[in-house]
């Protein structure tokens, strides 16, 4: 256990202590105790920057299950470090924000911070694990803690719905990812990501490569809310706003992005990966930005905007895969897509985090998040407004904020696609920049909605629950820090380029990034096509925003009942319904139907096996002679047992059963089994007596008439089938004798070894005495059971009427 291990595990350890602190120090907000940890972790991880900058990788191992090749190996490279810094950095800000957001009197703070710390630890584990099984464990931990956080206000129905939905979808993806991991480990014979990357060339040709790729991508897409699995994210907005800011904009939803980036060196050679990742990303980008416009809830807009931006990053990672097909570094324009993805990842975390916090402040200070009720908050909340402007303008891609730079790089990468001459890009490639441009226009529009609707226009005090005023300073610190980062990264992007972005890109594409690779982000690079595209976006965006009321109805063109949400809801409901209807058909509660299925299965399975194996054989050579006595006795048994079926009274049936029993004991006499005959006689007598006792005590009720069994064709067919199968198997087994009996040993040794001449009795008490002992046990248990049944009369507290 190294320091790195303790760093990843520390949130879990603190999570154990938090409830104690909560109970001990009721007057201090629990968040202050929690706040220390992410700050410490952030400083700890910052020290790694200088190492990863030189291309060093820190690797620490600890054994967990060595026999299965599962060890807790953590390693820090540029990509992992970037995520670790995001998690701890934004984590600190979110904890600080939550201290002022959540009231210490009204809320269950102990639960909140325990869940949040569990999540933080799990997320750190995901991004720093080298072992895929460890990664998967932490991955499911993030799903679980996210479930708990979404359902934090568990008395609300919508929270529980959102939590369940997100859990179902992300766990679906998580499990399929586990499948992909197992396939990968079968192919590469290791769970270590590093070792898999080392043998990526050979994996390509393996027959399991494509299934593994699809399963892993399904996991990444569900977690990162890609189309059509994005539906859980808008419903997850029922969580407290700090949670939305942390999990559903900056960290958890990027776990899928991380996974795609991390496994790019393994999969990205394949054209399938390129297509799936970039197309899924583009569809998500378009659909998210389009759907954001019709939302009226501020957090709803931000949720769809997150979906859309995640799609943007995903599509860039997909395009980055094209770089692998070009050797020369100098002219490799596709590597820029990966740089753009990493840069936008950072930018998105900063501006989206701040925007969520702004939404939280508006909610906290006015009591609503509905943009139709909000307006004119600019004068009342100037600081919040400033932060919102910075965040939203960055999201829209306006200069001088960081979103502008990454959006330019994104458009440039999309334009570069046109020059791609692999994977049939000549025909379809033109769609990439077009979709990207249209989606950017939508992005501009909803960004303007976010900032302009609540802050400008008329103040409608009568619609608001509270009188709005500026938030307390503590609540503003975190969004201000994030907004200033937006500006700093916007104006001085090269602060990040060599320290953070380059090592991260090296983590995604290790084969291409050498020491001479340089990331340089230019503010102005001449009149490239992307500049014109940006100008077009702004122009069209303004035009469309001005005319928004005229065309906003178009966004409602998909009716709610055929939307993806309805599909999900109906799917869940349909599954429940069909499961219960299947159960209703199978589980009738009637013993007759269960017996019917048992017998039917008996007939079909044995009959089919006999037929399929061609097992039936009739060898009459071994048969003994039939004597007249046997024939008569057999006739009595047959007639007797059939007569039971037609007997009207039960008394008759009981007497015939006795007759059959005595005939069988006569059979035992004929077949030279004296002990059997004796036992059978005695036992048949007692059984018949018991039957008669039972019959005698039948309740005398009007409904209980003596009647024949009604004939049922199904029952008859099943019974005949059972009889025939038993006969066939008996004959077949008898004709297939493989070896002689072992009875000669008993016959020879009964007297010599055991000193008895009755061989059957010697077997029962000497050779195989254990059987007899437990048979005695059976009788004793039956006797005790009968005694208890008759004597013990517990009515369960109810009086018998």
């Amino acid at each position: 256990m190294s320091l790195l291990h303790w760093a990843v595990l520390s949130p879990f350890l603190l999570a154990i202590i938090v409830p104690i602190l909560y109970k001990l120090f009721r007057q201090i907000h629990t968040g202050w105790f929690v706040l220390i940890l992410p700050i410490l972790l952030f400083t700890y991880f910052s020290r790694f920057i200088s190492l990863t900058k030189q291309g060093d990788i820190i690797m620490e191992s600890a054994t967990w299950i060595p026999s299965l090749g599962i060890d807790v190996d953590f390693y820090v490279d540029g990509l992992g470090l970037l995520f670790a810094l995001l998690i701890t950095g934004i984590g600190s800000l979110v904890v600080l924000y939550s201290i002022f957001y959540l009231s210490k009197e009204k809320e269950k703070l102990n639960q909140f911070y325990v869940f949040l710390l569990l999540f933080m630890g799990a997320m750190l584990g995901v991004v720093l694990s080298d072992n895929l099984i460890v990664l998967y464990s932490f991955w499911e931990f993030t799903s679980l803690s996210s479930f708990l956080l979404i359902g934090y206000w568990n008395e609300r129905e919508r929270s529980r719905y959102g939590a369940q939905k997100s859990l179902l979808i992300t766990v679906l993806g998580g499990l399929s990812m586990l499948g992909g991991i197992i396939l990968l480990s079968i192919m590469g014979n290791t769970f270590s990501i590093r070792e898999l990357i080392a043998q990526s060339g050979e994996l390509m040709d393996h027959s399991l490569f494509v299934p593994a790729l699809l399963l892993v991508l399904l996991g990444a897409f569900t977690k990162s809310a890609q189309f059509p699995f994005h539906i859980w994210l808008p419903d997850a907005m029922e969580a407290p706003t700090p949670v939305s800011a942390y999990l559903h904009s900056a960290t958890m939803v990027k776990a899928g992005i991380y996974l795609v980036a991390r496994l790019s060196p393994v999969f990205a050679e394949s054209g399938l990966w390129f297509w799936l990742v970039s197309i899924a990303g583009l569809i998500t980008l378009f659909w998210g930005s389009f759907s954001a416009i019709k939302q009226t809830d501020l957090k709803g807009i931000l949720a769809f905007s997150t979906i859309s931006q995640l799609g943007l990053i995903m599509s860039l990672l997909g395009l980055g895969a094209a770089a692998l097909h070009y050797e020369t570094l100098g002219e490799n324009i596709y590597l820029a897509a990966t740089v753009a993805a990493v840069f936008h990842l950072i930018n998105h975390a900063t501006f989206k985090g701040s925007l969520f916090m702004v939404a939280g402040i508006i909610d906290h200070e006015t009591g609503t998040r509905d943009i139709r009720k909000l307006g004119g908050l600019m004068q009342l909340m100037p600081i919040t407004f400033t932060v919102a402007v910075i965040g939203a303008f960055s999201m829209a891609g306006l200069p001088p904020f960081n979103g502008f730079l990454s959006k330019e790089m994104f458009l440039a990468s999309m334009v570069n696609v046109l020059e791609l001459n692999i994977f049939n890009m000549e025909t379809w490639g033109v769609l990439f920049p077009v979709v990207a441009w249209v989606a950017s226009v939508f992005t501009f529009i909803y960004s303007m909605i976010v900032v302009l609707k609540p802050f400008t226009g008329k103040l409608q005090l009568q619609l608001l629950e509270k009188k709005p005023h500026e938030a307390p300073i503590g609540m503003l610190i975190s969004p201000i820090i994030l907004a200033s980062l937006v500006i700093v990264f916007g104006i001085f992007p090269n602060l990040l380029s060599s320290s953070i972005i380059k090592p991260a890109v090296a983590g995604i594409q290790p084969s291409l990034v050498g020491p001479d690779f340089q990331v340089h982000i230019d503010f102005w690079h001449g009149f490239q096509p992307e500049v014109w595209m940006t100008i077009g976006i702004i122009a069209f965006g303004i035009l469309l925003y001005m005319t928004l009321p005229k065309w906003q109805k178009i966004t409602q063109w998909i009716p709610e009942r055929i939307s993806l949400n309805a599909l999900y809801d109906n799917g869940v409901r349909g599954l429940e319904r069909s499961a219960s209807s299947v159960m209703k058909v199978l589980m009738t509660g009637s013993i007759r139907t269960y017996l019917l299925s048992i017998f039917l299965f008996f007939i079909l399975s044995l009959g089919f096996t006999l037929y399929w194996k061609d097992a039936f054989k009739l060898d009459t050579g071994d048969f003994a002679q039939i004597g007249i006595y046997e024939l008569v006795l057999a006739a009595i048994i047959v007639i007797g047992s059939i007569a039971i079926l037609f007997a009207r009274s039960r008394l008759t049936s009981i007497i015939i059963l006795g007759a059959v029993g005595y005939t069988i004991s006569l059979f035992f006499v004929l077949l030279r089994a004296p002990d059997l005959a004796l036992t059978q006689l005695v036992i048949e007598t007692i059984s018949v007596a018991l039957f008669l006792l039972c019959f005698f005590h039948l309740p005398l009720m009007a409904s209980r008439k003596e009647e024949r069994m009604t004939f049922k064709l199904n029952n008859a067919m099943i019974s005949i089938g059972v009889g025939v199968i038993v006969t066939l198997i008996a004959l077949s087994a008898h004709s297939n004798k493989l070896f002689d009996s072992i009875s000669n040993y008993y016959l020879e040794n009964a007297y010599k070894e055991a000193g008895g001449k009755n061989v059957v009795n010697v077997i029962l008490v000497d050779f195989r005495g254990l059987d007899t002992m437990f048979e005695i046990c059976v009788l004793s248990i039956a006797a005790l059971g009968i005694f208890a049944m008759i004597k013990l009369r517990l009515t369960g507290g109810k009086d018998k009427s």
Partner: protein, 113 residues
């Protein structure tokens, strides 16, 4: 002989199955009785019905019938007797408590709980 026995056993199984599929609890128990008879005969038949002496050692007999199936059947008879008597008393108590011997009326479905 074995062919005859196999057919008799088959008919015993057939009648037993038919009785077990009926509604009356007493008939079901009668069915289990027939079923155990069938099973016992089956064990005996499978051991071979070739002639031979009773498995009591004596000087006159040259061959004996197989003693092992007989020992097995003896155990089975006693066990099935124990189970049958338990079932019968259970049925008797069921009559007393529920006032019915119809299995269809004893269904533990959600509607009548």
């Amino acid at each position: 002989m074995e062919l005859l026995m196999a057919i008799v056993i088959g008919i015993l199984f057939m009648c037993a199955t038919y009785l077990m599929l009926s509604k009356s609890i007493l008939r079901i128990i009668i069915g289990t009785g027939l079923l155990s008879h069938g099973a016992h005969l089956l064990i005996l038949t499978m051991g071979g019905l070739k002639g031979g002496s009773v498995p009591l050692l004596s000087d006159e007999a040259a061959t004996y019938v197989d003693p092992l199936p007989q020992a097995l059947i003896l155990t089975a008879i006693v066990i099935s007797f124990g189970v049958t008597s338990f079932l019968l008393v259970l049925a008797y108590r069921t009559y007393q408590e529920l006032g019915t011997d119809d299995m269809e009326e004893m269904r533990g479905t959600e509607t009548n709980e």
